[in-house]
Amino acid sequence: MDTKTSLEKREAKDTAMTERTWSGRYYTPNVDIMETENELTLTADMPGVKPSDVDIRFEQGELSIHGRVAPRQEESTQYLLHEYGLGDFYRTFQISETIDAERITAESKDGILVLHLPKVERAKPRRIAVKSS
């Protein structure tokens, strides 16, 4: 079970991606998934990724997010302290039918991607008024 809670990236061991980037290494972004009455909100840490570098796909119930990271240091850099590597971010999620895929929206700022996954009408909690007979 994954219990890491941090700003650190986790290196992706397993990926369905067939393209390889300059480093061939992928990182799994840390995410928060929150639920409100109307939607699921998915927030992913993807430092170094600009809005134009984000690619989001939704196919057959699977949502994938891909953040392209441009190299910021040369491959040959001799690090005095080297706590993280550089590579693209990639992660997939299974999305249930209670999400209205047509209305998924995304925004990105300061290296954070936020996805809004609205629930279909029938999945929202509904108050049923009780009339006195």
Partner: protein, 144 residues
């Protein structure tokens, strides 16, 4: 156990000391190698030290950066989403305060340190102090 290391003042090599502040269960930096702190890369050019930290979602006002002697001090705080009526299915992103102290291997000119923040990446340029820069020494021919 990963994610539950509430260690205080853990030493890590000669390069840095870390302090962590906790404000209850939900607001903590978990993690392993760096104790959950933002990860930092540090490298050296001829005339500068370069440091870089991944701090997604932070703005300049959330960060406090200082050079004290040979130490680089980086402090910051990130809040959890505090909207009402929210339940979490997953919470992996760290929240809370952090403080890192990184011992620099060479002397730097604190007055000339520059930092930029973009797309969640903090880039710090630390010009080496004059005394620490490589200096060419001209070899003159001995006269006859």
């Amino acid at each position: 156990m990963f994610g539950n290391g509430y260690t205080m003042g853990r030493l890590r090599g000669d390069l840095d000391r870390m302090f962590q502040h906790y404000f209850g269960d939900l607001e903590r930096w978990g993690g392993t190698d760096t104790g959950g702190m933002p990860a930092v890369n540090l490298w050296e050019n001829e005339s500068t030290l370069q440091a870089e930290a991944e701090v997604p979602g932070f703005r300049m006002e959330d960060l406090d950066l200082q050079v004290i002697g040979n130490d680089l001090l980086l402090k910051g705080a990130r809040k959890a989403d505090e909207r009402a009526g929210v339940s979490y299915h997953r919470q992996e992103r760290g929240v809370g305060e952090f403080e890192r102290v990184i011992r620099l291997p060479t002397q730097v000119d604190a007055a000339k340190v520059q930092a930029t923040l973009r797309d969640g990446i903090l880039t710090i340029t630390l010009p080496k102090a004059e005394a620490a820069r490589p200096r060419k020494i001209e070899v003159k021919h001995a006269g006859k």
